[in-house]
Symmetry: T
Subunit: 167 residues, 12 copies
Amino acid sequence: MTTESVANSVQLPPLDNPHERAAVGAELQVLLQDLIDLSLIGKQLHWSVVGPVARSVHLFIDELVGEWRELADVVAERAVTLGSVPDGQSSAVAAGSRVEPVVVRSMPDHAVVWELGRRAAAVAERIRARLGSIGAADLVTQDVLIKVVGTLEKQQWLLRVQLGEKA
Amino acid sequence: MTTESVANSVQLPPLDNPHERAAVGAELQVLLQDLIDLSLIGKQLHWSVVGPVARSVHLFIDELVGEWRELADVVAERAVTLGSVPDGQSSAVAAGSRVEPVVVRSMPDHAVVWELGRRAAAVAERIRARLGSIGAADLVTQDVLIKVVGTLEKQQWLLRVQLGEKA
Amino acid sequence: MTTESVANSVQLPPLDNPHERAAVGAELQVLLQDLIDLSLIGKQLHWSVVGPVARSVHLFIDELVGEWRELADVVAERAVTLGSVPDGQSSAVAAGSRVEPVVVRSMPDHAVVWELGRRAAAVAERIRARLGSIGAADLVTQDVLIKVVGTLEKQQWLLRVQLGEKA
Amino acid sequence: MTTESVANSVQLPPLDNPHERAAVGAELQVLLQDLIDLSLIGKQLHWSVVGPVARSVHLFIDELVGEWRELADVVAERAVTLGSVPDGQSSAVAAGSRVEPVVVRSMPDHAVVWELGRRAAAVAERIRARLGSIGAADLVTQDVLIKVVGTLEKQQWLLRVQLGEKA
Amino acid sequence: MTTESVANSVQLPPLDNPHERAAVGAELQVLLQDLIDLSLIGKQLHWSVVGPVARSVHLFIDELVGEWRELADVVAERAVTLGSVPDGQSSAVAAGSRVEPVVVRSMPDHAVVWELGRRAAAVAERIRARLGSIGAADLVTQDVLIKVVGTLEKQQWLLRVQLGEKA
Amino acid sequence: MTTESVANSVQLPPLDNPHERAAVGAELQVLLQDLIDLSLIGKQLHWSVVGPVARSVHLFIDELVGEWRELADVVAERAVTLGSVPDGQSSAVAAGSRVEPVVVRSMPDHAVVWELGRRAAAVAERIRARLGSIGAADLVTQDVLIKVVGTLEKQQWLLRVQLGEKA
Amino acid sequence: MTTESVANSVQLPPLDNPHERAAVGAELQVLLQDLIDLSLIGKQLHWSVVGPVARSVHLFIDELVGEWRELADVVAERAVTLGSVPDGQSSAVAAGSRVEPVVVRSMPDHAVVWELGRRAAAVAERIRARLGSIGAADLVTQDVLIKVVGTLEKQQWLLRVQLGEKA
Amino acid sequence: MTTESVANSVQLPPLDNPHERAAVGAELQVLLQDLIDLSLIGKQLHWSVVGPVARSVHLFIDELVGEWRELADVVAERAVTLGSVPDGQSSAVAAGSRVEPVVVRSMPDHAVVWELGRRAAAVAERIRARLGSIGAADLVTQDVLIKVVGTLEKQQWLLRVQLGEKA
Amino acid sequence: MTTESVANSVQLPPLDNPHERAAVGAELQVLLQDLIDLSLIGKQLHWSVVGPVARSVHLFIDELVGEWRELADVVAERAVTLGSVPDGQSSAVAAGSRVEPVVVRSMPDHAVVWELGRRAAAVAERIRARLGSIGAADLVTQDVLIKVVGTLEKQQWLLRVQLGEKA
Amino acid sequence: MTTESVANSVQLPPLDNPHERAAVGAELQVLLQDLIDLSLIGKQLHWSVVGPVARSVHLFIDELVGEWRELADVVAERAVTLGSVPDGQSSAVAAGSRVEPVVVRSMPDHAVVWELGRRAAAVAERIRARLGSIGAADLVTQDVLIKVVGTLEKQQWLLRVQLGEKA
Amino acid sequence: MTTESVANSVQLPPLDNPHERAAVGAELQVLLQDLIDLSLIGKQLHWSVVGPVARSVHLFIDELVGEWRELADVVAERAVTLGSVPDGQSSAVAAGSRVEPVVVRSMPDHAVVWELGRRAAAVAERIRARLGSIGAADLVTQDVLIKVVGTLEKQQWLLRVQLGEKA
Amino acid sequence: MTTESVANSVQLPPLDNPHERAAVGAELQVLLQDLIDLSLIGKQLHWSVVGPVARSVHLFIDELVGEWRELADVVAERAVTLGSVPDGQSSAVAAGSRVEPVVVRSMPDHAVVWELGRRAAAVAERIRARLGSIGAADLVTQDVLIKVVGTLEKQQWLLRVQLGEKA
């Protein structure tokens, strides 16, 4: 028995058809790129925030970045579990991410909060729109994405409250 | 750009319509009140349990109360994430909770176990009945509630076995 | 020897007369209800605070709530040690607590600090007024209450400084 | 009130009908037996692996065994929560498990990885096929099983990559 | 300057007169002997408890013994701080302790609880009776003793509730 | 030099003759199967215990199971160190273990304690009878078995005291 | 409502009259300066101790300094809680502290112990003399000071025993 | 089946005859009393040591006392495992221990070391003399005693080196 | 005094002239982009490594990525300390990094090690070439870069040894 | 051989000439006094800060004070390693420190940040100016000072960003 | 009483005659030298291992070295407890150790495993041959050596399995 | 591509010429041997120290040995990073180390301190003399050596102060 033939016999998880597998893989790659981009933008703002609550925002961003990195890892590992190798390198992220970059300069704390809140909300909203179709193909991946949406929406709230009085 | 306008532009998670958002918010508020009430009743019995296994029950209740407080926090934060501020103060809990109060006196350990088991079961059963309709509106909230039901049903088992021989 | 007779022979701590024991028990029950109410109001504001320093206040309130829950436990356990079972359930707290409820809506961070500061101060002041008479009846209970007052007054300071420039 | 009557009144979680409850219980028992069998086979290979990467595989298997034991506990506790006592003893596992035993002798590291990968994949695949019907009966049990499938499929990936170059 | 003369010049804490210093020292020595005796009796019962809740009592006693050892250390160190060396050896404890020994044989769990509860209560009561006179001589020692009484009375409650239904 | 020849030159520990090596290996295999069986029966009863002290027993069993798993690992690793690969899979355990299975149903707490106590005692007694002959062949293996007997006999005591008043 | 008016309405703790408040504040400021001075002198000797037990003294001083810094923080925070801002800067400490400086050179270990012992004793004695009058004004501050005296007197003992044979 | 009859059927570990069991139990009881006495004398000297290395000795004694308490627990639990309840109360220790008491007064550090060293050595020597006969009766108890001797002899060395230059 | 004028008066660290400050900032920005790129490529290979030692490489890469992220943070914070805001977002990294991307597919373990080793070496070599000129401008930045080079060169060794037999 | 002669033979680290040794010692003493002064001023502002972000500043100052105390210890220990005993007592700090005191009253949070930022910058700048000459005499001391400057400049940045928008 | 005479009176552990004491001491010294040599050779190979599993071997060796250092400490401390001072310095180890040195160059991972396995086996075998005679002189030392043999034989197994397929 | 050719392409760090690389490697090898020798001599004295402060010295030496082992590891890993495999085995250390051995017998505590102090000072001094030339070849290695010198010089101080009164 050769190593090659061995490798073939530990099969991939049985999604219903190749089309579904490819579709789920494509979703996960885009989400991975969005999450990596969020984490890079987060660090960027971690270094450039200024203003009276800069320290609080500086520390809070590190928590967000930690969550985004963790989610990115979970998403990428789900993709390779299903047989796709997504691209999470800088060029691919720059090309594929749907998250807007920020300007490179010192930025007031309230603007930082607003920039992050908008981006987290946009990523959450895009995934939420796909939960149904993903669930039809693979409940395990859907469960992963529900966690991603739940986390991003909670972040959205924690950022939103720093901006004013409305719930 | 004013702070006001900024606050408006970090949108709430996109549930399908205002009716659904209000319905989900209302469910979460009642569940919050039930969970807070369970935690207060739990502490009450923690202080008033007597009998041969009082120490074991006294310690176990603190674990239950810890879980109820944690679940209450998760439920309340999901509500505000969706744009509702639920009321978790004593008057609102006293008025809105569907959990029965206990009598205020020393209570034998087996009775304490029975009182807590019935109440945890009742709260679990009420949420379970709503899982379907909540899931139709918002899979993330449904996921939160599945965790709440799962935790309460496990507690139910752990309490039930202390009462006799049937599985 | 029956269990009943055994129970009778482990006596209560020897306060000087039944009147004193009842009076101390009554004080502890009211204080318990105030502390539980503070902890519920604290969580309420933890969920509804908004504004530039909302995150800092959100985190700080969880420390305060932790201290109030801990103090409530100590107070309730002192009461049952002395032979009273105080009522810490939602209806009793709603009826017996002397702490004002807050309005249920998003609340600006500075207002949250002010609301909590006023309530912590009021509870501290009411206990301080009773330290002398409690001490005459029971030095151990007095020692518990001195800790409660000291903790609340330190919280008062930590809240007060967030409101302006006067010491 | 007797202890007996007390025991009866803390009801089981309200699955829709007795047939469903039995069916879910039966699924959980078989899964429990598969997971216990995986954990015993895992330890067997932990002791008998040889070859250049034997140490790495030896350590990795202990992580897998830890996860299988943990999942077995969760599955068994869900079963008793629903009113079934599954059989997890050696004879029942030997009779009911659908996992193939391994030969008892020193085994090269790559073969160990292949044997474990195939077995983890087979168990995952069998549960995945039941997710839909279980979900129709009980969303909480379905949520437990989604976690089991997700964990086993991730293990499948981590084992598969040790066997060769294909994703 | 010799070591002798140096030693003389770091004075003892300034209690008001030699009589008071001796009286406080004598109180602390007797309390030390009571606490050491409680800790030895506690271990004795830790080893000899039998019955349905033997395990819970066995574990609880180790917590009590830990607290008694800690209190004994605090009491002895306060005595030497004030210039007395109390005697905590077995003969002195056997002769000076006012705590009754227990019979040496297996003892049912409820009897163990009762024996410990009575002895903890008796020690607490004896110290409580001296709090006033000690406080007049030395507020620091009084503060130590208030902690001892508070701890013993809380233990009394935790033991008492294991014996029956009265608060 | 080939890998094969290398493997041959790291010799096994020098027991005096092949007969002794086989005999020690056979003892270790049977003991391994008994210990694995104890651990499976322990979990079985962890899930099915009911009654007033069910929680205490439920938690205690997890400590016992942890010790049995740890001892099984030590025993199996001593066997492979000496050149035998013992069989610890479900069929081998079902066939070779001398530990009686338990009935599969809810079981009262005192019966659970009795069932475990009898089984732990029986396993301990069987090993104790072999300590002398094992020691003559290999002092290191004897030392391992003395630890196993010591642990099982301590468990026997901890279980026995939960059943009644005799030492 | 302005921030100014808000600040005024979270009142200071209700000591009986302005005179008492000022007197308590003055006591706390002097004590703070003494404790800071002790901590600076402690570090000075930590760096300059020589002799056979220099290492033991070097390490012990760091524990003392840790306790003095902690007490200084408690004392300063009690002062600001009562409405005074004490001065803990180097010039104020140099001017206001009643603790003697030490010579700046290598100092033998026994002399270091003697120097610290005398200074800790002197600070303790000064506070002890004020416990009564402070207690009449504010029991919470008295409780803080009893802790300070108790800690300093225990340190006195631990230093004294290193100097010779008298208790 | 009654609880009584159940208790009888979990047998004691099978020592060869009643005489041996009694002899082993008697040895363990005397050793227990020696170890408890060592721990009480150790605390006595912990409180009364003075001199240049008093702090080092003070801290070291607490480690010794911790080891003696731990060994006493192991010895007592081995005794009850074998069916004896030894007496570890103050009167029994005062009467049965073969360890000499120390004088009650401040004691120079080197004398403290010498007093402890002699006593630890004497206890070790007495047990060493019994290792052979105990081993003939019960290898598990012998193993416990070898640990006790090994620990005491290591303490002897650690104390001996503090007294002078010979190895 | 306005916030603006305040901000101006906390000056930047005094590097000798604007040219030097800009040059150091430019170096730090390029290094930051290289380090971020290494961390993204590292994760990419963490997900796509296959082969017999894939698990070991998978785990090792996470340690490397952790170090690269930590170094990136230190480098970026040194840049902003000196008054530059470097750009660490995906487009800037894709454009500015001098680290080659890897192909997106499963990659054999030894190739992964080789790819990472080459890239770490190249980044180290580029910084090493600048140590002298940076040190002439700012010793603190030079010290940061010496740490970066030292870390990368150690990684180079740890990767290199996995590729063959030469030191 | 006497202790005196022994002491002489463990030589000081070999700086090139007495003049250099004295110069380095003098630098370290002044820096020590500056760092102690920073730590005292830091605590002063920790107690007196008021305003909306008072809590965040209050907590941040404790981190700064911890770093200043740690650096002071490192600096003082380097001085005594080189044979100087620097003076770190309150009078010497008051006289020798080049750090300006602050006014003693409640101070708004932004002013506190500004006061600390200016002082940290001034101390950093003074050390930076001496790095070259110190390095010529002793590279080890230079390395210590580079760490001090690096830490102070990072603090400068973290404070500066709280004051406004410029990098 | 002089210190000299004190030192004499804390006797050595009572081995039966001077010849036995010397023989045991000599055995322990040789074993100490072997264990130190193993630890130095282990580090040597930790630094020079190369090849595909170099990282795994590099990490594993550090665990082995940690165990060898720990065993060496236990062996040396047993020797001095018995009155011998063994020589563990480099020249004595070089002269007395029976462990072969390795060549100084990069070494392939499988060769490293083989070199370590042979040496650990040889040391184990030499001690095993002396267990009987040591046990006749001193059971405590025998117990120490049984632990050493057991540890080395387990290491032998863990190394052996990395070399090929035989058990 | 063969493994050989791969190994060649991950280059060594770019020191300027082969002569420099060899010179730096030779320095590191000698330093490694000195540090290993210090660690062996340290353990030797850890086992043989006697006298009043023997315990303090015994514990302190273990800290020193821990630091020397850690530094040896750093030095050896820097050497292999630069392409040399240094020899750290017992014969090479015995031959190459410049540290004097100590006599093998019990040694008074003050002499132990003196012996260690002289040896640590000598090693530090030899490295200090090479800092300049090493720095000219490789700033990273110089940075490693500055840490070694700094650590050894601090140890020198900590040992020196135990010997007498001069700074």
